[in-house]
């Protein structure tokens, strides 16, 4: 019994400093290659807490009863791990964007000096290659007119990339 109590005490001691490590920063979140400035709390490794309002602003994802959703896409948050994703802040509900990235198998690159987090392609965005369907994209021509790859359905497409290096 004594040993069990000591083990619990050790866990509390370990969790205490980790929770306190999260510091307030002005962070840049680059999501879908669009940069957004937000206030965040972070421990630089597994936690990047932002308000749910900033979640929408930076990612267009929204916290809903059924999960984290954008348009028709919804990722349910595992109920048993809800505290890893959502918590009540002093003025707003906070969402841990790094826990979400891990959930959706999304690579994240971080620059500590500039408090910048770059979020890469989620697993659902990489499924195009696995299914062998050509991943769709929208890009401008020289006149700024946007073109969608899928607009060319019904025709064969030779997609060639080049650079002027």
């Amino acid at each position: 019994m004594v040993k069990a109590k000591m083990a619990i005490a050790s866990v509390v001691l370990l969790l205490g400093p980790l929770a306190m490590q999260a510091k307030q920063v002005r962070a840049t979140i680059v999501y879908d290659d669009i940069a957004t400035e937000v206030n965040a709390a972070t421990d630089n490794a597994a936690q990047l807490w932002i308000s749910t309002a900033d979640l929408i602003r930076a990612t267009r994802f929204e916290l809903k009863p059924q999960g984290v959703c954008r348009d028709q896409l919804c990722f349910p948050v595992p109920k048993s791990r809800a505290s890893e994703f959502v918590r009540k802040g002093s003025t707003a509900t906070l969402f841990n964007l790094l826990a979400f990235a891990q959930l959706v198998n999304q690579p994240v690159a971080h620059d500590a000096a500039l408090s910048t987090w770059y979020f890469g392609l989620r697993s659902d965005q990489r499924q195009g290659l696995a299914s062998l369907q050509a991943p769709d994209f929208t890009l401008p021509d020289m006149a700024g007119k946007m073109h969608l790859l899928s607009e060319f359905r019904g025709k064969k497409v030779l997609l060639v990339t080049w650079a002027s290096w």
């Binding site: 940069a35 910048t116 195009g128 991943p135 994209f137 401008p140 025709k155 650079a163």
Partner: protein, 191 residues
């Protein structure tokens, strides 16, 4: 636009030419060099993935690659569609697309961060991320060439494009030739 624009204007293309400042296509398709070509059929399905796609011989002295076999293959596919011998089977397509290499996936994020920092005026801070992208995906010439083009390669990376080409075995292996059935050097006879 500033860099590629003059080339597009001079070429007066009859096809659609798009500007991809953030290397989105490269990221979506796991491309590692230019020129890279992908064949996509009428249903939007890939039938030949990422391969060197020269459509003329202007770099033949450097690459040793003749564009004729690739053009012949392309014309065959245009005529015969998925029945063309040059349209690949699904097994080979998946192998060549390197769908789920976690290092490549992370490399793309590091490269994206480097690009963002550079465009925000932080070249010095971008360099470690470009280097990390190159380490995670050493096969990507795009990561090397883009990073070298943005700074002094010798000073910031201790190398140059020419040095790297030599290290890889020289200009004749810098571009692996398209893996075309019946072509010299074809390594796989599967459809």
């Amino acid at each position: 636009m500033k860099d590629a624009g003059p080339w597009i204007t001079a070429a007066k293309p009859t096809y659609t030419a798009l500007i991809d400042e953030k290397h989105l296509v490269s990221k979506l398709y796991n491309m590692v060099n230019v020129p890279t070509g992908v064949w996509i059929n009428e249903e939007g399905k890939i039938v030949r993935p990422n391969e060197v796609a020269f459509v003329d011989d202007r770099f033949k002295t450097f690459t040793g690659l003749d564009s004729e076999p690739y053009l012949t293959a392309l014309k065959d596919w245009v005529e015969k569609g998925d029945k063309s011998a040059y349209a690949m089977g699904e097994e080979r397509l998946r192998e060549k697309l390197s769908v789920n290499d976690p290092n490549f996936i992370l490399a793309a994020a590091q490269f994206g961060l480097g690009e963002h920092l550079y465009k925000s005026g932080h070249l010095t801070e971008a360099i470690p991320h470009f280097k990390e992208a190159q380490r995670l995906n050493p096969k990507s010439w795009n990561y090397k060439r883009q990073a070298y083009a943005l700074s002094d390669a010798k000073r910031d990376y201790g190398t140059t494009f020419a040095d790297e080409v030599q290290k890889s075995g020289g200009s004749k292996v810098y571009y692996p030739p398209p893996d075309l059935p019946g072509a010299t050097g074809s390594v796989d006879k599967r459809p």
